[in-house]
């Protein structure tokens, strides 16, 4: 059970809704993932296609916890504006805060992120802050009022997996608020390795949407997150530089 700011969620896997080939495949993938938290973005309505379906025709708020993001925002002011628009939609006061600092890597603008977190937290938002894998930034986001800190495994949409297990583990060890790894996992082993670091959950999108079979990958990710969590709780054996036989060395024939 994942708990963020007093809200309980059945699954430690959170999923995005972008880049799917079609809505039907997206819905089947979300169901296969077991996720209850799904992220959505805020964009202008296309007025020339007024019958264009927004995502809410697919995702009903009674079945899924809609987590609005501020993806695409490059300043604190812009992200704050998007967060307030999202809140007015009336589903909840959570926001997945992104303040991007670089178009090529989509790495966060840490100064803007901290500023927006402070402003939004003071305004009653429950801020889940997407950030890099830097411990000091994570600590400052927590101090600024973030209810969860979301360090990346690797850049958004890269599928490069967990680049720095040590930093993720350190962030988890030092923070009191939940740590949800956001972005970068590519396949099930990545997700399992992330969860083995002891973090509270993972948010992913592209790993599902761009899989050859998104529904199949969603199922794999569900198992991987559960397996990684179970392995973390079970506690792994120590690493050794020498072999130790598993069978008895006594009782061998002469």
């Amino acid at each position: 059970m994942l708990e963020i700011a007093g809200h309980k969620f059945a699954s430690r896997l959170l999923v995005g809704t972008g880049k799917y080939r079609d809505n039907d495949e997206m819905m089947r993938a979300i169901d296969a993932s077991g996720a209850s938290v799904v992220t959505v973005a805020v964009r202008r309505v296309n007025l020339d296609r007024a019958d264009e379906a927004g995502i809410l025709h697919q995702l009903t708020a009674d079945r899924y916890f809609l987590l609005a993001n501020t993806a695409g925002c490059y300043s604190a002011d812009e992200a704050i504006r998007y967060a307030r628009l999202a809140r007015e939609a009336g589903f909840n006061d959570f926001v997945k805060l992104e303040v991007i600092g670089d178009k090529e890597t989509l790495l966060p603008d840490v100064a803007g992120l901290l500023e927006a977190t402070s402003v939004l937290a003071a305004d009653g938002f429950k801020v889940m802050a997407y950030t890099n894998d830097d411990l000091v930034t994570a600590l400052r986001l927590e101090a600024a009022g973030a209810v969860a800190v979301m360090p990346l495994a690797s850049p958004i949409g890269s599928g490069l997996g967990l680049l720095n297990p040590y930093f993720i583990r350190t962030i988890k060890t030092r923070l009191r608020v939940p740590v949800i790894v956001d972005a970068g996992v590519g396949t099930a082993s990545d997700a399992c390795l992330v969860m083995e670091q002891g973090v509270d959950g993972i948010l992913m999108n592209t790993a599902l949407a761009e899989a050859q079979d998104p529904v199949g990958m969603a199922k794999a990710m569900r198992f991987a997150v559960e397996a990684g969590r179970a392995a973390y709780l079970a506690g792994r054996m120590p690493r050794r530089e020498v072999a130790v036989p598993s069978s008895p060395d006594r009782g061998m024939l002469d």
Binding site: V40, V42, R43, L47, I55
Partner: protein
């Protein structure tokens, strides 16, 4: 009465829309499915029916789309 508005960044001429609710209706948009800003101020759901739109206003109409 004709209003020259900027809606989602584009100039548009609207007739017979005195309020945000009437504007949405003319644009065939469901007020429950969108959020509206007029001149950078978010219009609360409860105020849509009573908030006027005036000549020259900049209106933003947003909704949720797929994203990560």
């Amino acid at each position: 009465m004709t209003l020259a508005l900027t809606i989602n960044g584009e100039p548009r001429t609207i007739t017979d829309a005195g309020t945000v609710e009437e504007l949405l209706s003319q644009l065939h948009l469901d007020p429950r499915a969108v959020v509206v800003e007029v001149n950078r101020k978010i219009i609360r759901r409860a105020a849509i029916a009573v908030t006027p739109v005036a000549d020259g206003d900049a209106v933003e109409i947003v909704h949720f789309v797929g994203g990560g």
